[in-house]
């Protein structure tokens, strides 16, 4: 078999032009669509961020006019952007960190030979398939200020001292409330990916560690974690990106309020562009946001790349 495969590989050169053409035609539709509907719009929105461009420009079909960085200046002057950046980072750090911890704990438990692990693995995925907008509704109902389950539970556990707990109506806890809903929806996927990573850790390594007398904690940190590094990296990068982008959950649950306490960059840009109808200003927010995201993903990968755990 091996020798025939070798022999056949030689005529490959002759058909290379045909291959090139064929391959080019195959990737073309995907490349064209990505280009028209993703790359061009992104570049265009960066350009628009330097222009005075509003809905009236679209209606009357007039191009935007250069306005000397006014979109950016205004955003920085009225503190809108700073607040949104702080909210976005608090949200991302809170959700991603807890997502990793809960996901890891659940994955470790499901990977230890407990009864019904397969069954539990499939039912625990349910929140992941619930559409985002519906997860928002589910948690709004639980957090409902008058008849909500959360109010009842808080009342019971505090012995009645906290009688009016309305997590989404209080500026200091609203972001936490949304974070809980985000965790609920995202922990399952993280668990699934980490579980797959755990199953890739070779058994003989674990066996060897056990024979050498390493405790469970030691084994976890010096064998399991290093083996899972790439899975952890991918799943955490995905988590960072998706929480950075989180929109429908926040928009439905609080709309950015109360008192802008849940206005993240996603909410701010949408509100500037499609509620205040100032596309230029919205584009300025997304431009800052894209830069921040690139920095975060870069720094994260740099950090993860350098801390060799072995």
């Amino acid at each position: 078999m091996v020798s025939t495969a070798r022999k056949i590989k030689k005529p490959l050169l002759k058909r290379s032009t045909g291959d090139k053409l064929f391959s080019g035609i195959l990737v073309l539709p995907a490349v064209v669509i990505t280009f028209i509907f993703i790359i061009v719009p992104i570049i265009d929105s960066v350009i628009k961020s330097f222009l005075d461009f509003r809905v009236k420009n679209i209606i009357s079909n007039q191009p935007g006019t250069w306005n000397n960085f006014e979109n950016y200046i205004k955003l920085f002057q009225n503190q809108k952007l700073t607040g949104a950046v702080i909210n976005t980072f608090s949200f991302v750090i809170f959700v991603v960190a807890l997502q990793f911890i809960f996901g890891m704990i659940l994955a470790l438990i499901l990977n230890s030979n407990i009864k019904g692990a397969r069954f539990l693995r499939s039912i625990m995925m349910t929140p992941w398939v619930v559409p985002t907008i519906i997860s928002a509704l589910i948690w709004m109902w639980i957090f409902q200020p008058q008849y909500g389950l959360m109010k009842y539970l808080v009342q019971v556990f505090t012995g009645g001292t906290v009688a009016d707990f309305a997590i989404l109506n209080n500026p200091s806890t609203a972001l936490l409330g949304i974070g809980i809903a985000a965790l609920w929806k995202q922990v399952p996927l993280t668990t699934l990916l980490l579980l797959a990573g755990l199953q890739n850790v070779p058994d003989d390594m674990l066996e060897a560690a056990r024979i050498d007398g390493a405790g469970k904690v030691r084994t976890f940190f010096s064998i399991v974690l290093p083996y899972m590094k790439s899975v952890i990296n991918v799943s955490m990068t995905m988590a960072i990106i998706s929480n950075f982008k989180q929109f429908p959950l926040i928009w439905t649950m609080t709309g950015g309020g109360p008192d802008n306490s849940t206005t993240t960059l996603a909410i701010l840009s949408y509100r500037e562009a499609f509620v205040s109808n100032n596309m230029g200003s919205g584009a300025a927010v997304t431009t800052v946001w894209m830069l921040l995201m690139l920095v975060v993903v870069f720094v994260y990968n740099k950090l993860m790349g350098e801390t060799e755990v072995d």
Partner: protein, 278 residues
């Protein structure tokens, strides 16, 4: 022995806590959907319905059936999107895994980074662009935008599936005089069926979940999809009909739960392959 016991006590209590957190809310919604509004607005809440009723389901199917227009629209949009995404992903994924050209690395890099950028930034200029192309407020426009949104992950997933197929099969067919397209269509594609199923399901689930594309590109109520339709029609500023909303939550989730649980083998394999190799 004692340490072991404590260990498993800790393990099982953690398991119960996390599973309660993940699953109880679903029970809670299901429960509320079978309560009357009278009972739903009771405080303290009841954990087992006192007088179970399907009145809010009847209400949804008879009086508030605008919901089903959104439902149907969403099936059309998600169906077309996942169909075309999968075809494009098969073509591109095959090309990227089989033929090694200099442009491959560039294409993959572009696809990878395009996933990172916020959707709002695209929508700002897509709104303008689609307006120029006469695609705003149309389903084809929404579908095109969603295909573009789904493609990066779908292509990377298909590429990783094609890479796991040995090349020897194709070489043999080529020697026998099969055309390139014939090889792809008749020989290779059937081998990546699990990958295709994973991409179809992934695209369907993700577009079912879409909010931003539909919210900005569609203003006509008759063309709205589920997320936007529900958010705009049933979430009034002042009055919330919570039994109805919980019923909507259940009906809106059922297709996804059914899809996932019927095909979870493929789904899980696909998700894991996409994350571990991609």
């Amino acid at each position: 022995m004692k340490k072991n016991f404590l260990g498993s006590l800790l393990k099982y209590s953690m398991l119960v806590i996390i599973l309660l957190f993940l699953l109880f809310p679903i029970y809670w919604v299901l429960l509320t959907s079978f309560k009357s509004n009278m009972e739903a607005y009771k405080f303290p809440p009841t954990f087992i319905p006192e007088s179970p009723t399907i009145s809010s389901y009847i209400n949804l199917f008879t009086k508030n059936n605008a919901f089903f227009v959104y439902y149907k629209n969403n099936f059309i949009v998600s169906g077309f999107t996942s169909f075309f995404t999968t075809i494009l992903a098969i073509l591109a994924g095959y090309a990227l895994s089989r033929f090694k050209f200099r442009w491959n690395a560039w294409i993959l890099a572009v696809l990878l980074t395009s996933q990172m950028f916020p959707v709002v930034s695209r929508m700002i200029s897509l709104y303008d662009l689609m307006g120029d192309m006469g695609l705003i407020n149309t389903m084809p426009g929404l579908i095109l935008a969603l295909i573009a949104d789904m493609l990066p992950f779908a292509v990377m997933l298909m590429t990783s599936f094609f890479q796991s197929i040995p090349r020897a099969v194709e070489e043999a067919a080529y020697i026998d005089g099969a055309s390139r397209m014939g090889i792809l269509y008749r020989i290779v594609t059937p081998l990546v069926k699990p990958g295709m199923v994973a991409v179809v399901l992934y695209a369907f689930l993700m577009t079912w979940d879409d909010y931003l594309h539909a919210a900005t590109l569609i203003q006509n109520d008759a063309l709205r999809t589920l997320s936007v339709g529900v958010a705009l029609r049933y979430l009034g500023e002042l009055s919330y009909d919570w039994s109805l909303i919980n019923t909507i939550s259940i009906i809106g989730t059922i297709p996804m739960v059914l899809l996932f649980f019927s095909f979870q083998k493929y789904m899980i394999k696909g998700l894991v392959a996409g994350a571990v190799k991609g």
